[in-house]
């Protein structure tokens, strides 16, 4: 309850902060939001395991995750009488869950039923009414950034190219933190480059780009020092997430990152294997992200989503195929976590859509819209601007 207030107070403080040059003076309080897009359609059924369902074990003879054992310190972690969390994220996401900093929304997704990666990723990132004409220059994070405007927005994409989700917002910096080398320019060179654009309308973008690159390089130097002292060898997504956390702690408010490798048609594995490895890395990354934000973790909300879930039954290649409903993760230091949220139903054959996959009972726009509304105190008009035609739904998580 107290945590909820922190989040909301941050929002009120923000409203009075006014518009400042976001480059230099992003206020340190106020909500932060990170969207983690799992591209490829991750198999949510082997993350959040419906262990009370015998149908689950019948449907996945070789890739089911064993039922949790009472009192065990490893294996799946029972979250309630029906659902258990995959062993691969037990120590990371599981421990955050026990601290009420994680919630899951099963049966989540979109009404786009194409089951095509491209089609569905696009439609989710655009966040526009399904079936109509699409405006490819307008993504929902772009509209969120425009709605917030000024310093409250401070958006950033941790990707090589700007994602569709950020389309339409005027200037969103982007920088992939995967392989950041030494700073490309020394101070003198930066100054000269900056001066070349001194009278130019790209001046802000040029300066921001040079500064961001420099700053990341500096943070990396700090990381290296810290790593040398504590001999921790972080790598991959964990390292990337830690860098994201530092940048969002200090400067940015709305972040986007995508993580690939989830299209497990073949040899998916169960408690161990391909999917478990990916989930493990993601879990460690999100934990690192939460830690690197420091106190600001209490003001941060992370949503992990994917374009669709996968077939409930395993296929002939010990994998799963494109499905529909999936499980969204909501994380944050100040959320009312430690629960499953949204509309649910019992997992049995009758619950499946087209006898194939999970239905969608919780529309992504309603879920995200509900979070945004509470986090930033949006009016109905502002909500409708971000997600037209889909009213926000309050899952009481923030």
């Amino acid at each position: 309850m107290k945590r909820r207030q922190v989040l909301k107070l941050g929002c009120a403080a923000l409203a009075t902060a006014g518009v400042t040059a976001r480059l230099y003076a992003a206020p340190t309080t106020g909500p932060r939001f990170l969207l983690v897009f799992l591209r490829g359609g991750y198999d949510s059924v082997n993350l959040l395991v419906p262990y009370s369902s015998s149908f689950y074990y019948e449907s996945r003879p070789t890739i089911a995750i064993p039922r949790p054992e009472t009192g065990a310190s490893s294996g799946a972690l029972a979250l309630d009488a029906d659902w258990a969390l995959a062993p691969a994220v037990r120590d990371t996401i599981g421990s955050l869950y026990l601290r009420r900093q994680v919630a899951f929304v099963p049966f989540a997704g979109t009404d786009d039923l194409s089951r095509s990666h491209f089609e569905t990723q696009d439609s989710i990132e655009l966040g526009q009414p399904t079936g109509g004409t699409r405006d490819y220059r307008s993504g929902f994070l772009g509209r969120l950034a425009e709605t917030l405007a000024g310093s409250a927005a401070a958006p950033i994409a941790f990707t090589d190219a700007l994602p569709l989700a950020f389309e339409g917002s005027s200037t969103v910096p982007n920088l992939s933190l995967k392989n950041v080398g030494k700073p490309p320019f020394d101070e003198r060179q930066s100054k000269i480059l900056d001066d070349m654009y001194a009278d130019h309308h790209l001046r802000t973008a040029v300066r921001e780009g040079l500064d961001l690159r420099q700053e990341v390089a500096q943070k990396m130097a700090e990381e290296m020092n810290a790593a040398n002292r504590s001999a921790i060898n972080t790598k991959g997504f964990e390292l990337e997430a830690e860098r994201m956390g530092h940048l969002m702690r200090d400067k940015y408010r709305i972040g986007f990152i995508d993580v690939g490798g989830w299209d497990t048609h073949v040899g998916e594995g169960a408690a161990q294997g391909t999917l478990a490895n990916n989930l493990g890395s993601l879990g460690r990354g999100l934990q690192a992200f939460s830690q690197s934000l420091g106190a600001e973790w209490d003001n941060t909300v992370v949503v992990v989503l994917s374009e669709f879930g996968r077939t409930f039954r395993e296929n002939g290649n010990r994998g799963t195929d494109h499905g529909h409903g999936t499980v969204y993760w909501i994380l944050g230091g100040g959320i009312n976590g430690g629960m499953l949220a949204g509309e649910q139903r019992a997992v049995n054959r009758g619950a499946l859509l087209q006898d194939r996959d999970f239905p969608v009972l919780n529309d992504y726009r309603a879920v995200l819209g509900g979070l945004f509304r509470t986090l930033w105190g949006f009016s109905p008009d502002q909500c409708a601007r971000i997600f037209p035609q889909v009213p926000p739904r309050d899952l009481k998580l923030v």
Binding site: A161, D195, Y197, G209
Partner: protein, 537 residues
């Protein structure tokens, strides 16, 4: 300090060498700048060059930038010799056949050595389908995984060959305007190599559907893309059949390819056009068994197939025109009707003017282009002529931000001026980093044609890093395509004759000042490529 002096120098000393003869003085005044530079090349200031008078007027140089992927000595000389109108006519001929306009010999040889030069779409589809079948029949295990991996790698290799082919042509074809148009149409009729088996098809798509029609008639271009398996697979028309209608392609054909989003069509038109398009799909195997009464309606052209058994033969109404159900002839009738619409002429003209003239093109110019489009039945060369010789373009010169492709290609054209690179990997990596790789746009709308999409902070600093990579070494451009490093790793001399003839006379004061502060030739190169002067055309 020295900077201010240098900024004034050209005016005081009346010729270009001043810029460079003074540079060593700057270095002497600031020895600290050089600490850490071990390479002796770092210590050399940009060499002084004999003064050269500008060969072209500023406007002509900027115009040349627009009708090419960037200036080089040959195009500057040709424009100087011919003037804009005659230069343009030569470009609009767009022939690669005549010897004078052939690609440089090493590029021709390289293109001929690619595997894609010996493949066509039908064979590629048959091959990849057979491979899939064989793999699926294998028992699970390491052999199956290895076979799957090998197939995947082959797809990646073929897609990269297509990229390589496009980048080499863009960089070295004397038919620069045609190559810009190939890029424009590939983007207008965008397909994404990552979908389905498109990696096997994109090279064929560029060479057989787009390039032959790049300066031809718009309707031919629409039909060529419509019948190409890359487009049929990308926008799912291969799944569009009577009783199982898929509207995806029909919608984009009107919204993105011909009429534009506000082109006056309705959802009903989309549905009706989708019915017209039923049965147009892909077949790389033997023809299916067809009822005798339909046999004469069955069509096959490479991997394109019109299968009457999958076609909806009802009467349709598209944009107010009644189309009698009778087979593939409906498609030709519908496309002819759609491209005749004033909205199509206007939309295509507007897209062209956005790419070539200005982010917000002057409406009166777009109107004139659209009139020409309609009068000439969609003659692309005629529309280009109106646009490229217009006073509106002249007034807009210098104000168009180079998109990533124009930026990296123009930098390599300028830096190496006719010398052919051996590896396109660096170009491809840079385009990936800047977010505009060929065949890499996921959505069917193609890459944006305007500045805001490419000038984000991350992209600007990335651009500067690329400027540094090109300016300070060979950047891997002369490595072998397989990755073997070039024997000599020098850096290009951007303060070359071309620079003095076509760039230096028109530089802005800010850029001059920055160049004057460069501590080495490499750094000077980098500042020039990073300057607003180089990034706008």
């Amino acid at each position: 300090m020295g900077a201010a002096l240098l900024a004034m120098a050209p005016a005081l000393l009346d010729a270009a060498p001043a810029l460079f003869t003074l540079a060593p003085a700057v270095l002497a005044m600031a020895p600290a700048l050089l600490s850490g530079c071990a390479d002796s090349a770092h210590h050399q200031a940009p060499p002084a060059k004999a003064a050269a008078l500008p060969v072209l007027k500023r406007q002509d140089m900027l115009w040349l930038e627009r009708v090419s992927f960037g200036i080089d000595s040959e195009s500057v000389a040709e424009l100087h010799r011919l003037g804009r109108e005659r230069y343009l006519e030569r470009q609009l001929e767009g022939r690669e056949a005549s010897p004078r306009r052939a690609l440089p010999a090493p590029v021709t040889a390289e293109l001929a050595s690619l595997e894609i030069a010996h493949l066509d779409a039908a064979r590629s589809i048959a091959d990849v389908n057979a491979e899939h079948k064989a793999i699926n029949a294998m028992p699970d295990g390491p052999d199956k995984d290895a076979a799957r991996k090998a197939l995947n790698e082959r797809g990646n290799r073929l897609a990269y060959e297509a990229v390589r082919s496009e980048l080499l042509r863009a960089t070295y074809s004397p038919d620069q305007l045609k190559e810009e148009m190939v890029w424009f149409w590939l983007n207008h009729f965008s397909v994404h190599q990552a979908k389905a088996n498109l990696r096997w098809l994109v090279a064929d798509y560029a060479d057989r559907a787009i390039r032959p029609h790049a300066l031809g008639r718009f309707k031919d271009l629409v039909l060529a893309t419509l019948e190409h398996p890359a487009m049929l697979a990308y926008l799912d028309n291969n799944q569009n059949a009577a009783g199982h209608v898929n509207e995806n392609y029909a919608r984009e054909l009107m919204e993105l390819h011909t009429l534009g989003v506000n082109g006056g069509y309705t959802q009903r038109d989309v549905q009706q056009l989708a019915l017209v398009l039923t049965g147009s799909g892909i077949n790389a195997r033997d023809p299916p068994k067809i009822k005798p009464e339909w046999a004469s309606l069955y069509l096959r052209n490479g991997a394109f197939e019109f299968n009457p058994a999958r076609h909806d033969f009802s009467t349709k109404v598209v944009l107010g025109r009644t189309i009698q159900g009778r087979g593939f002839a409906e498609v030709d009738e519908a496309v002819t009707w759609i491209v005749k619409q004033p909205a199509c002429a206007h939309f295509i003209s507007s897209e062209l003017a956005t790419y070539f003239v200005a982010d917000t093109p002057p409406p009166q110019l777009v109107d004139r282009m659209a009139k020409t489009f309609q009068r000439t039945d969609g003659d692309i060369a005629a529309v280009l002529r109106v646009m490229l010789l217009s006073t509106e373009l002249d007034a807009a010169l210098g104000g168009k931000f180079k998109d990533p492709t124009r930026f990296v290609i123009s930098a390599v054209r300028f830096a190496y001026d006719g010398r052919t690179i051996t590896s396109t990997r660096p170009l491809f990596n840079w385009l990936n980093g800047l977010g505009e790789p060929p065949f890499g746009h996921a959505t069917p709308d193609g890459y944006p044609l305007t500045e805001p999409a490419w000038a984000s902070s991350g992209q600007m600093s990335r651009r500067f890093e690329i400027a540094r990579a090109i300016g300070s070494g060979n950047a891997g451009l002369f490595d072998s395509e397989e990755g073997a490093a070039a024997a000599a790793a020098g850096f290009p001399q951007l303060s070359n004759r071309l620079y003095f003839e076509a760039v230096e006379p028109f530089l802005s004061a800010r850029t001059r000042e920055a160049l004057g502060r460069a501590g080495s030739q490499q750094e000077w190169n980098m500042f020039l490529l990073a300057s607003p002067d180089f990034n706008y055309e």
